[in-house]
Amino acid sequence: MGEIMDAQTIIARRVALELRQGMLVNLGIGIPTLIANYVPEGLHVFFQSENGLIGTGPIPEQGLEHPLLTDAGGRPISALPGACTFDSATSFGLIRGGHVDMTVLGGLQVDGEGHLANWMIPGKMVPGMGGAMDLVTGARRVVVAMQHVAKGKSKIVKKCTLPLTSARVIDLVVTEMAVIGFPGGRATLIETAPGVSVADVVSNTEAELIVPAAVPAMAI
């Protein structure tokens, strides 16, 4: 290997391996946005921006931004040939109606059963849920892309203490240390990041983690 990757790059590259041909995918703000940079060659996926676009393309070069073409954070984006636009009711009909194959979102906490909290810290940060609750409730597959530990505390907790985003359990969480799934509603270690041992993951995870006999390394 020899190549040193930062946490965000490891996460984005690993999540990108979850993409499949022809998927309609919604990427949240933050680390999830980076995933578009690592789409495997030859794979075609459709990216949705919930403000009303399918077919988002790369960030335009300076001077080529269009004021009426932005992502859900209000930043300039481009639209690929074949892109389409629609209103907010249609956009969330796509999301809630199960037409979005996969969403990738950031997280504040994921717990041992796969519940996600990612929209508020009572008394501190109350930005509003935006589209997160609809995405977690309605997308066919929910992947959380986040750092494993924040301020010395594991973000993969026994039980979420922050308000939940949805009662629906997520499918996968990808961090710079590990890939964790929730078969049968129990956190299970699926892969470790290059150079990270199973013991490292377990000691940085507050939730009880099921560890299979063999845990492969991320193929990134």
């Binding site: 009303g52 004021p67 859900a72 954070g73 907010s88 109350v126 935006g130 609809d134 949805s166 009662a167």
Partner: protein, 215 residues
């Protein structure tokens, strides 16, 4: 439909009115109407919109001058002034999941009493709402939203009020144009009747009450 000046359009809006405002982070927001609302100093407004935008932009202009008494929105996190006003209880804020907000407005415009959505079940959003089980799935009853005025921004408008939108500036505009007693529209371009092909009209002309003249 009448063509009016921006001053005249805003003069019709009383203090304390409820207003739906199109736009998503200011993209597709009726900026000229917002500037004029700020200039005329309308106060105590109830605003229904996707977000609080940024200070000095879109709905952020009304937040800057503390003209909003109550805001119903899905996200205010990118506007620190809106956050401060909410924390200080100077502006009441109802936070609504974005898809639920769109559907409540759509319901208001379509003669429905509300919608049943799975979004928010098992979260703080369900507080005070009726939960309804249908075919083994749980839903929240989310009631319809309407307003006294809708302030809409379109790309093309003709002199019969037919509207079409551009790119991501469409967002909440078409659903809001259905859900208010009085609909006031600004347009990037006002064009002769017939220029917008029937198949490209998104908001039918009879929904529009006032078109703000350009220039």
């Amino acid at each position: 439909m009448k063509v009016v000046s921006v001053e005249h359009a805003v003069a019709m809006i009383p203090d304390g009115a409820s207003i739906m405002i199109g736009g998503f982070m200011g993209v597709g927001a009726p900026e000229r109407l917002l500037d004029e609302l700020a200039r005329q100093g309308k106060s105590g407004l109830t605003v229904i919109a996707n977000d609080a935008c940024l200070p000095g932009k879109g709905i952020g202009k009304l937040v800057d001058s503390a003209q909003i008494a109550r805001l119903t929105a899905s996200h205010i996190g990118l506007n620190p002034i809106a956050q401060q006003q909410m924390m200080a209880e100077k502006m009441a804020v109802d936070l609504v999941p974005q898809g639920t907000l769109a559907e409540r407005i759509r319901a208001g415009g379509c003669g429905l009493g509300g919608v049943l959505t799975p979004t928010g079940v098992g979260t703080v959003v369900e507080a005070g709402k009726r939960k309804i089980d249908l075919d083994g799935k749980s839903y929240l009853l989310e009631t319809a939203l309407r307003a006294d005025f809708a302030l809409i921004h379109s790309f093309l408008a003709d002199y019969q009020g037919n509207l079409s939108y551009a790119l991501t500036a469409r967002n909440f505009n078409p659903v809001m144009a259905m859900a208010a007693d009085t609909v006031i529209v600004t347009a990037e371009n006002i064009v002769p009747v017939g220029v917008i092909a029937p198949d490209h009209v998104v908001t039918p002309g009879p929904l529009v009450d006032y078109l703000v003249a350009n220039g």
